[in-house]
């Protein structure tokens, strides 16, 4: 049995790739895989999004706008999750796909369309959107991120329960690569490091979270 916690930017295409990798690993593994995508929002993630989308506009207005949009998207995702993880994750991935592949803008019309597309209960979604409960759930996720020492997105924490000697979780930063994720899930850390090196991302890091 494995547990994968993936911390993501609810707007990002890089994070969408990481989510797809987690889904692929979960589908292929023989063992049960419990996985969850948690929205992550901090100063570092805002900075990262700024550099990615508008490197020339380093002003406070842009920064605030980006922060607000990520926050709104995170709350919308949390609202969708109150109808179960599967539907919530479908909503999140459809949103990231629409924003990145179809270059849609984040509007109420888009959200409405995605709610219909993913078969969510519309009335309930609108009740939960921006609700105190959604905010509380988002803040809970930031606490979990903090406990697991997550700074950047996408980051994954993987717990393997099949090995009783492994009483720690593996924290994998910049974890979009399916190959790296798969190797970590199989406990092949040397192969995971090699795959990371091959991906030529110097910021790739593998840490061990331990008791």
């Amino acid at each position: 049995m494995l547990e994968i916690y993936l911390f993501v930017n609810p707007l990002g295409d890089h994070c969408l790739e990481a989510e797809r990798s987690v889904l692929k690993v979960a589908n292929e593994e023989q063992a049960t895989v419990h996985y969850q995508f948690l929205p992550l929002l901090n100063l570092h993630t805002v900075e990262n999004v700024m550099q990615h989308y508008c490197p020339a506009q380093h002003n406070l207005t842009t920064r605030n706008n980006i922060f607000q949009t990520i926050y709104t998207a995170a709350l919308d995702y949390k609202a969708a999750l109150f109808q179960g993880k599967r539907r919530g994750q479908e909503f999140l991935m459809a949103l990231q796909e629409a924003l990145n592949s179809q270059h849609e803008r984040y509007t109420d019309e888009l959200i409405q369309q995605l709610v219909i597309q993913t078969g969510l209960d519309m009335e309930m979604f609108h009740e939960d959107r921006q609700s105190k409960l959604a905010v509380e759930s988002f803040e809970n996720d930031q606490r979990v991120a903090n406990e697991m020492k997550i700074q950047k997105h996408p980051s994954a924490v993987i717990y393997d329960y099949s090995d009783p000697t492994q009483d720690y979780g593996i924290l994998l930063e910049d974890c979009h690569s399916y190959e790296v994720l798969k190797q970590v899930c199989h406990g092949n850390y040397a192969a995971a490091l090699a795959a990371q090196d091959a991906a030529k991302h110097p910021q790739h890091n593998l840490h061990i979270l331990q008791n």
Partner: protein, 133 residues
């Protein structure tokens, strides 16, 4: 967050779950959901950690389920949450959860996810050193 354990009296799986948490010295808060039914918000807090939403936590074998003539394919999620808040015996039990995971029913293997882990981040070099052994 302390583990929350939702139980009902005279339920064998609830007793097993309680015994497991005690045996492993894991602090938990128990709540008899028949005596203290869940609010709608509390039902939603469970749902966010389920795979498939309401169908995971509703007991289709419960007498009340047949009595209310619920059709899971057509009922809206919102309406079903209302019914769960009114009729706690619609829920499977035990249900145990913390801030990031949820388990329905007692399962010897799955419950091990609740074993606490403190986290400490080691540097890359230490990982490499470990691998070199």
């Amino acid at each position: 967050m302390t583990v929350q354990l939702y139980t009902s009296s005279s339920n064998a799986s609830s007793r097993k779950a309680r015994a497991w948490f005690r045996e492993h010295d894991i602090p938990f808060t128990e709540r008899n959901i028949m005596a203290q039914p869940l609010s709608q918000d509390e039902v939603k807090r469970l749902l966010r950690l389920t795979e498939n939403g309401t169908e995971d936590i509703v007991s289709t074998r419960a007498k009340i389920f047949g009595k209310l003539k619920i059709d899971l394919d057509t009922i809206s999620t919102g309406k079903l949450i209302d019914l769960i808040a009114q009729h706690p015996d619609l829920l499977k039990r035990p249900i145990m959860f913390d801030d990031k995971r949820l388990q329905i029913g007692y399962n010897e293997e799955e419950i091990r996810r609740f074993l606490p882990r403190k986290t400490r981040q080691l540097e890359m070099e230490k990982v490499r050193a470990r691998l070199a052994i």
